[in-house]
């Protein structure tokens, strides 16, 4: 009888997820309020430990003051024991893409995640539970020119509502996809880019909005002119070297997502100043094929030592630990980064790489009001997210999260989680 119950359970979970999102998305009455918390972590300023007040108006952060003050005369929400953090930024993810992350054809620069996003996917509510308010969703790595990714916020009923930055990056895979070799992959990439550059030169009208231009030409001309950054995924250090060669040969701009074996390329990245994102496993075990010796490498520490700004992403494949950005930041602290550097590596640094640092990444005047209230120090596993706001709207409230009750206490425990 056991197997019959399983589908019923999934339906219940999906229903609960919908209810959680809907009611809290309504806009606060007059759009102006003050949030006061025991500790406010601004990321680009210092940490306000004896209380701080953040004045939000019209979806933006108007002002940040130390202490429990309210010069602006707006309604106040006070949380003495809580920590107020900016929403974290997930630098690279394929979450929420429905039915696959890559087209079978390798050369599809015109494809966009806008058409593949499933706004009601559980992935987005899980992000809120982990304090993440901005995520860069991009096609997968089994491709040549994989398609365009977007920086989105994890709330919204349609994909258009979720957009933060639309043309945020075109996925280019330097490492060979399954079934080909590095030689073939690079040759095909050079051919595609040379063809695009030739077609670009043939273009009589370089007006991008001309409907006559094909979607491929729109994407490729944006890439070649630097308007659309290239998201280059590299697995081995030699891929990073080839990425530099391609960037020089075709004048591309963009950033590199490193694979777990590309540690040795960090000095090259430091020297060239190309922004890069660390792989999802920041403590890989490297085995030397010749001598059989295996050694654990600590990538966050090595990235800091090489002088490259540290940007950390979550690891969706892991069951619990590494799938949360706050846990990855804590592991980075255990590797030797300071707490400030680790928190910056999951908020302001990724925002800078994705080109949205003017809107998200820290509690600073003029930025979007993406705020998250934690019950304690976010790097301590015992603390959790109580409230979250995106662009001023309250989007998550732990006391109304019915799916969390099921997860914590299982089927038999129907009563809400006591206390916590």
């Amino acid at each position: 009888m056991k197997t019959l119950r399983f589908p019923w359970v999934v339906l219940a979970l999906a229903a609960v997820a919908v209810i959680t999102v809907a009611p809290t998305a309504s806009r606060a009455a007059d759009g102006e309020y003050v949030i006061q918390a025991g500790t406010v972590v601004t990321i680009d300023g210092d940490i306000l430990t004896e209380g701080g007040s953040v004045f939000v108006s019209g979806g933006r952060i108007e002002d940040v003051q130390p202490g429990y003050v309210n010069p602006w005369g707006a309604t106040v929400q006070k949380h003495e024991t809580a920590w107020l953090m900016p929403g974290l930024v997930e630098a690279h993810s394929q979450g929420g893409l429905w039915r696959g992350t890559n087209e079978r054809a390798p050369d599809t620069p015109f494809v966009s995640v806008l058409d593949g996003l499933d706004p009601l996917n559980d992935y987005f509510t899980d992000l809120l539970r982990d304090g993440v308010t901005t995520v860069f969703v991009v096609p997968g790595d089994q491709t040549l020119l994989g398609g365009q990714g977007m920086v989105i916020k994890p709330v919204g009923r349609t994909a258009e509502e979720m957009i933060v930055r639309r043309d945020a990056g075109l996925k280019i895979a330097l490492a060979p996809r399954r079934g080909t070799s590095r030689m073939a992959q690079l040759a095909e990439l050079r051919r595609a880019l040379t063809l695009a550059r030739g077609a670009e030169a043939l273009e009589v009208t370089s007006d991008p909005d001309d409907p006559a231009r094909s979607a491929r030409q729109v994407a490729m001309s944006a890439l070649l002119e630097g308007r659309l950054p290239a998201v280059m995924t590299c697995v081995a250090p030699v891929d990073v070297v080839n990425a530099f060669a391609i960037m020089d040969e075709f004048g591309l701009t963009g950033f590199i997502r490193l694979g777990s074996k590309s540690r040795r390329a960090l000095p090259l990245l430091a020297e060239r100043g190309v922004p890069c994102i660390l792989p999802d496993d920041i403590e890989p075990l490297e085995t030397d094929a010749e001598t059989g010796k295996s050694e654990r490498r600590y990538l966050a520490a090595e990235c800091k030592a090489a002088g490259v700004p540290v940007v950390i992403q979550a690891n969706e494949a892991s069951g619990y630990g590494m799938r949360s950005l706050w846990y990855q930041a804590a592991v980075a602290v255990s590797q030797g980064l300071t707490r400030a550097e680790a928190l910056r590596a999951v908020s302001l640094a990724p925002a800078r790489v994705l080109g949205v640092e003017d809107r998200v990444g820290s509690i600073t005047k003029g930025k979007d009001a993406n705020l998250v209230l934690w019950s304690g120090d976010p790097l301590d596993p015992a603390s959790h997210v109580d409230l979250a706001w995106i662009e001023g709207d309250a989007v998550y409230d732990r006391t109304k999260d019915r799916k969390l009750v099921r997860l914590l206490d299982g089927v038999a425990g129907s009563r809400p989680a006591e206390g916590r």
């Binding site: 094929a289 010749e290 001598t291 059989g292």
Partner: protein
């Protein structure tokens, strides 16, 4: 129908093979473990050789040695001795001589199948029964300097069968020297496989310990496997003596050695191609090791393993594992090991006396000493250096390669 008949009833692919198979079956039926030594068709010429340096095969090096060969055997080996009167001595002043190489682990000539796969315990199968004495690979083998080969059943069963030793003749044919050599066991895939019994080294240990005590290994629950009583008797009868066991990694080697030593069999480890990750563990076992099929594309850890084992005091020898690797690659494997730290002093014994001892024919081949078969290699440099050219090579007292004669012939 016992194993020997089953072994002999092969598909005769050509007329010649049928005749040989019949002869082999006849010899087996006599079932007396006498050593069949047929004489060479032509009578062996007498020969006296004087060389600047002679590696005797057991590690000693003689200067200015005189070797007298009569009737295919070494009659006298003296250092700095005089050439006996009335015989034409061939003098190689600054040459180096060593015994003919012994390739301990091969399946050359076992084209009819090197293992009976359905059962895990087939100790009564003999490799010699399937050996084709005129196989086409034997000619290049003897021309490459290998004069004796060990025939081991493939490692497909935990108790794979009885090994055999054969000596090669100058004309590229062979002659079985020892028909029923040390028993061969296997504690590595494909003997350990999930699709058959046993699947792990632990199962192999349990099965063999039960068999040595004369009973089939069963535990509670269904699915126990019928084991032939003949196999159980033969395994129970094995009390002392040498044995050969295939093992790939250090853990399987440890379990294999413990199991066989408990029964009083002194094992020789064979294969060890993934033991390089824990050389110290293998050296602890204090058993002779035969490294099979060293190849220049192996990881450096494996190529340095013979050197580390030798440093830890283990008797290391080499084998090609033909036909998986070329039978001509024995001397090249030694050169590879020397290039990666194997001591040159042990290079010659590693492919002569030690290999012969492991096959149980240490008293007949593998050394240049009185009474031994006249297998001799004379080169213009050290035997383990690939630069050295063969000046003269003898198998059973008959000339296989003679550089001087070949030079005249080609002019």
């Amino acid at each position: 129908m016992n194993a020997t008949e089953r072994g002999a009833r092969r598909r005769p692919s050509s007329h010649r093979r049928v005749r040989i198979a019949a002869a082999v079956v006849a010899a087996a039926l006599v079932a007396t473990p006498i050593v069949v030594r047929a004489d060479d068709p032509a009578d062996a010429a007498d020969l006296v050789v004087r060389v600047g340096q002679l590696h005797t095969g057991d590690g000693k090096v003689l200067r200015d040695a005189v070797i007298v060969i009569e009737d295919g055997r070494f009659v006298s080996v003296t250092e700095g001795g005089a050439v006996p009167k009335g015989s034409a001595a061939r003098v190689f002043a600054n040459a180096v001589a060593c015994p003919g190489f012994v390739d301990a682990v091969t399946q050359i000539g076992l084209d009819g199948g090197a293992a009976e796969s359905p059962e895990a315990l087939t100790p009564d199968v003999r490799a010699a029964d399937a050996f084709d004495v005129r196989h086409r690979d034997l000619k290049p083998t003897v021309r490459a300097g290998t004069t004796s080969i060990g025939l081991l059943p493939a490692p497909v069963n935990v108790a794979s069968g009885a090994s055999a030793a054969a000596v090669l003749r100058a004309d590229g044919s062979a002659e079985v020297l020892l028909r029923r050599g040390p028993p061969v066991f296997a504690f590595q895939p494909p003997a350990l496989d999930n699709a058959r019994v046993p699947s792990t080294a632990a199962g192999a240990r349990a099965m063999l310990e039960a068999a040595f005590a004369g009973r089939a290994w069963t535990t509670s629950g269904e699915g126990s496997i019928p084991v032939r009583p003949a196999a159980l008797e033969m395994l129970a009868a094995m009390k002392r003596g040498p044995s050969i066991v295939y093992a790939d990694g250090p853990e399987n080697a440890r379990i294999a050695v413990q199991t066989l030593r408990a029964q009083g069999l002194s094992p020789t480890l064979v294969g060890l191609r993934s033991a390089w990750k824990d050389v110290a563990r293998v050296a602890d076992l204090r058993v002779p090791c035969i490294v099979v099929g060293l190849d220049p594309s192996d990881p450096i850890g494996l190529l340095e393993m013979p050197g580390k084992l030798a440093a830890a005091g283990v008797d290391v020898s080499f084998a090609t594992g033909a036909p998986a690797r070329s039978p001509r690659s024995l001397r090249l494997s030694v050169a590879l090991a020397v290039a990666n730290g194997f001591p040159t002093a042990q290079a010659v014994p590693a492919v002569t006396s030690r290999a012969a001892v492991a096959l149980g024919v240490g008293d007949q081949v593998g050394r240049v000493a009185e009474g031994r078969r006249a297998d001799l290699l004379i080169l213009d440099g050290e035997p383990w250096e690939l630069r050295s050219r063969v000046l003269l090579s003898l198998a059973g007292g008959r000339i296989v390669r003679d550089a001087a004669a070949e030079a005249e012939a080609s002019k």
